[in-house]
């Protein structure tokens, strides 16, 4: 799966979980500060990404991911 597809699916999942307009999601957007993810939604996001990409992420490391751009790279690492 290429980066562009991962990015597109990350944006789709983020918009669904946080109930926001996908247009607001930029690569540098911080999940909590810019997109308004609270602590519960941060956990929901991790679960939703795992389901979307059929991967099992290290939860501790996943929770350190703050922006959409870093999330794309982080997920890409599991898909290699």
């Amino acid at each position: 799966m290429d980066k562009a597809e991962i990015k597109s699916r990350v944006e789709k999942v983020t918009a669904q979980v946080l109930k926001i307009d996908p247009k607001e999601i930029t690569p540098n957007a911080n999940f909590a500060f810019d997109l308004g993810a609270d602590s519960m939604q941060s956990i929901e996001l991790i679960a939703a990404f795992e389901e979307e990409f059929n991967i099992q992420m290290d939860e501790q490391k996943a929770r350190e991911v703050q922006t959409v751009e870093v999330a794309v790279d982080f997920i890409a690492g599991y898909l290699k």
């Binding site: 911080n30 909590a32 810019d34 308004g36």
Partner: protein, 710 residues
């Protein structure tokens, strides 16, 4: 609003009296901290403007929300951060760019979780420093200001408390909500209510300094889990008390002895952190409380009633037993039962039943109604021999609780003397208690608590009247000599100074020492003993031996040259058996004093309060009896005198049972000289003079044994 002419270093004015507030990270989910903080500000009638800042909400509680604080078109005085800790740095950075100068960081997940949390806290501190932002928190409940000019409830407490004249500062957020609930039930109001959490920027000292000038605050309560800067805390407390007369009450948790267990000296083991804290707070005039209940018992007495002028109390009761209990408690707290004037007794004879006890405690008898309380209390408060009154009531079938409560309130209002009440029981007396509390008459469930509160108010009044004391500037000190000994020891990485070096240091500060010498051979010892004059004491001198008695390294009462030789051999042989690895520098020969009282003097370097001086009954059992007193240096003549008079064994020194009084003046001087030494040499971690032998009055005292730890 407080007088801002003497503006505090940190911007607390914008914390308590902001004209505009932004809540960063709020949301629409009722029952969550980010939502409820915003809702509380809105609901509780904040007098300024409040802006919700929410990354994804268009509005919160029907108020237009902004995505970023930078989007708010108007200036923002105070930012309240409720974002997850991971992004508080981003939020605070934007606050800085916006020109916000004050913040409250509610979010948890900082220093208190260790590791990455410490890094986060350091990062927000750096951002705040860069933009000159003063902030409360992180990890706190928030701030409440009940002043109608602001009426800010920037917290997630369930409700804003009533306006009052008590300020409450707390390191624990969770305790705050419990205190608010407790206080509400007792009709206790607050001026300011602050949970300061990790105190990464604004701490209790900044807040106390601000409250000094807050006209809405009469009494300051502080809950602390750790005292970071004890010296500064003492200093600000003394400043507040002397300049404004506002009492400060501290509830300090963590009364542990763990720190003391590892200490090497007697002073170290006796001066545990809590004992030192206790003494230091008292020295500063702070009333230390052990429970929340005790804190509020004292606070309402100080906040609602005038201070007592003296310790003479009148007890008015309708029940004999509780009157006796109150009397016992009063005496235990050094109060005295007032002796009524003949005029008062005459009124009582005429107005009270023949069966009433008209002497103090005044028993108005179980069937008393409001009229008897009125005459008993009114006459007592009018009496020049009475400094305050304690009213007790138990609910009999004919006791008119409600009217008595009203009568007590009405009567108290006519006099400038403190009056407290204890309506004993719970259900039936509730109506009366409610009246008393609403009309600011301090009420106590038990008469004992009432007496304790009166005693605390009296302690504060007495402390206020004490003038600050100056330390004596002793002229005959040789700082250079002491410095040279310490420098040499440090250069050789020696932590424990042997007795001869310790004595040299003490001698250079004018403490009276005994003739002595260090002998490195038996012949040396014999010559030294003859030079000093018999009897003598011989002690091992070694950097490796702290407790000489424990290794049989001391021989007392040596009276002949032959005994000197025997003692020398015996000590060398004992050390070889008990502690063979010890490096012996020699045998210390010292004049032996056979008469006098043994006391202990010591120094302990406390991490929070600095140099602490200890005085107590000395000798081998000092740690068993623990009859000691403490003061933080510097110590002047009055404090030195108080230290001696505080211990139980003082009577032994003062001349009990026909014995001659000891030379207390000379001990007072030693305490002051030791205080000077401790301040001049922060390298001294612990110091013991045990014993200091005190002769009869006029005969002075002598350092018989000493050790110093660097």
């Amino acid at each position: 609003m407080p007088d801002t002419t003497a503006a505090p270093a940190k911007d607390l004015e914008h914390i308590f009296y902001p004209k505009s507030v932004a809540v960063l990270g709020t949301n629409r989910v009722v029952g969550t901290v980010p939502h409820d903080i915003f809702a509380n500000i809105l609901r509780d009638n904040f007098q300024g403007i409040v802006y919700p800042v929410s990354p994804k909400e268009r509005s919160v509680a029907s108020v237009r929300a902004y995505k970023y604080v930078l989007d708010i078109p108007d200036p923002v005085d105070l930012a309240i951060l409720v974002f997850p800790s991971t992004v508080c740095n981003l939020a605070l950075e934007q606050c800085g760019q916006k020109g916000v100068k004050a913040a409250i960081i509610i979010s948890a997940g900082f220093r208190e979780i260790g590791g990455v949390g410490i890094q986060r806290e350091e990062e927000i501190k750096a951002i705040a420093k860069k933009h000159n932002i003063s902030f409360i928190g992180p990890n706190c409940l928030g701030v409440i200001n009940t002043d109608p000019l602001s009426h800010l409830n920037a917290s997630f407490a369930r409700k804003i408390p009533a306006e009052g004249n008590i300020a409450f500062l707390s390191q624990s957020g969770a305790l705050c909500t419990a205190v608010l609930d407790y206080a509400q039930a007792k009709h206790i109001g607050f001026s300011k209510f602050v949970s300061f959490g990790n105190k990464a920027n604004i701490n209790e000292i900044d807040l106390m300094r601000y409250l000094k000038n807050d006209p809405k605050t009469k009494v300051i309560l502080v809950y602390l889990e750790e005292i970071t800067d004890g010296t500064e805390l003492m200093s600000v407390a003394q400043e507040i008390i002397s300049e404004t007369g506002k009492p400060i009450l501290v509830l300090k948790s963590g009364r542990t002895r763990e720190g003391a267990a590892a200490a090497a000296s007697h002073t170290g083991s006796l001066a545990g952190s809590d004992e030192v804290c206790d003494a230091a707070l008292k020295q500063a005039g702070i009333i230390r409380c052990t429970t929340i209940e005790e804190m509020f018992n004292n606070a309402i007495a100080l906040a609602y009633q005038p201070l007592p002028k003296g310790n003479r109390i009148a007890i008015i009761t309708n029940a004999g037993g509780p009157g006796v209990l109150a009397t016992d408690a009063a005496i235990a707290h050094h109060l005295s039962l007032a002796k009524f004037s003949s005029e008062t007794l005459e009124v009582y004879k005429k107005s009270l039943p023949a069966t009433a006890n008209i002497k103090n405690p005044v028993d108005v008898i179980g069937d008393a109604r409001a009229d008897r309380y009125k005459v008993a209390l009114g006459s007592a408060l009018q009496d020049q021999n009475v400094d305050g009154a304690l009213v007790i009531l138990t609910p009999q079938s004919m006791t008119d609780i409600e009217n008595i409560a009203h009568e007590v309130c009405n009567t108290v209002g006519r006099f400038e003397k403190p009056t407290y009440a204890s309506f004993m029981g719970e259900k039936d007396v509730a109506v009366g208690i409610n009246i008393l509390q609403q009309r600011s008459i301090p009420h106590y469930i038990l008469p004992e608590s009432m007496c304790k509160a009166f005693a605390s108010a009296l302690f504060f009044k007495n402390h206020r009247e004490i003038k600050p004391e100056e330390s004596v500037a002793f002229s005959n000190l040789s700082k250079e000599k002491a410095a040279s000994v310490i420098k040499n020891a440090l250069a050789a990485s020696r932590k424990y100074l042997p007795e001869e070096e310790s004595v040299t240091i003490l001698e250079s500060y004018g403490l009276p020492t005994l003739p002595s010498g260090l002998a490195t051979s038996k012949q040396d010892a014999e010559a030294a003993a003859e030079r000093i004059g018999f009897p003598v004491v011989m002690k091992v001198s070694s950097d490796d031996i702290i407790h000489k008695f424990d290794v049989k390294g001391v021989v007392l009462d040596i009276r002949t040259r032959a005994q000197v030789g025997e003692a020398y051999d015996s000590i060398i042989s004992n050390i070889a058996k008990v502690k063979p690895e010890a490096r012996i520098k020699g045998i210390y020969v010292q004049k032996m004093v056979t008469k006098g009282e043994e006391v202990i003097l010591g120094v302990k370097r406390d991490p929070s309060f600095g140099a602490v001086i200890m005085f107590g009954l000395g000798g081998l059992f000092v740690e068993v009896f623990r009859d000691v007193s403490f003061r933080v240096a510097p110590i002047g003549p009055r404090s030195a005198s108080e230290m001696i008079r505080e211990i139980k064994a003082y009577h032994m020194l003062a001349g009990a049972r026909g014995k001659k009084p000891r030379d207390i003046k000379s001990v007072e001087e030693c305490i002051q000289r030791l205080s000077r030494l401790a301040l001049d040499f922060p390298e001294i971690e612990e110091l013991d003079i045990n014993p200091l032998i005190v002769n009869d009055e006029g005969g002075g005292c002598y350092v018989a044994d000493a050790r110093i730890m660097l």
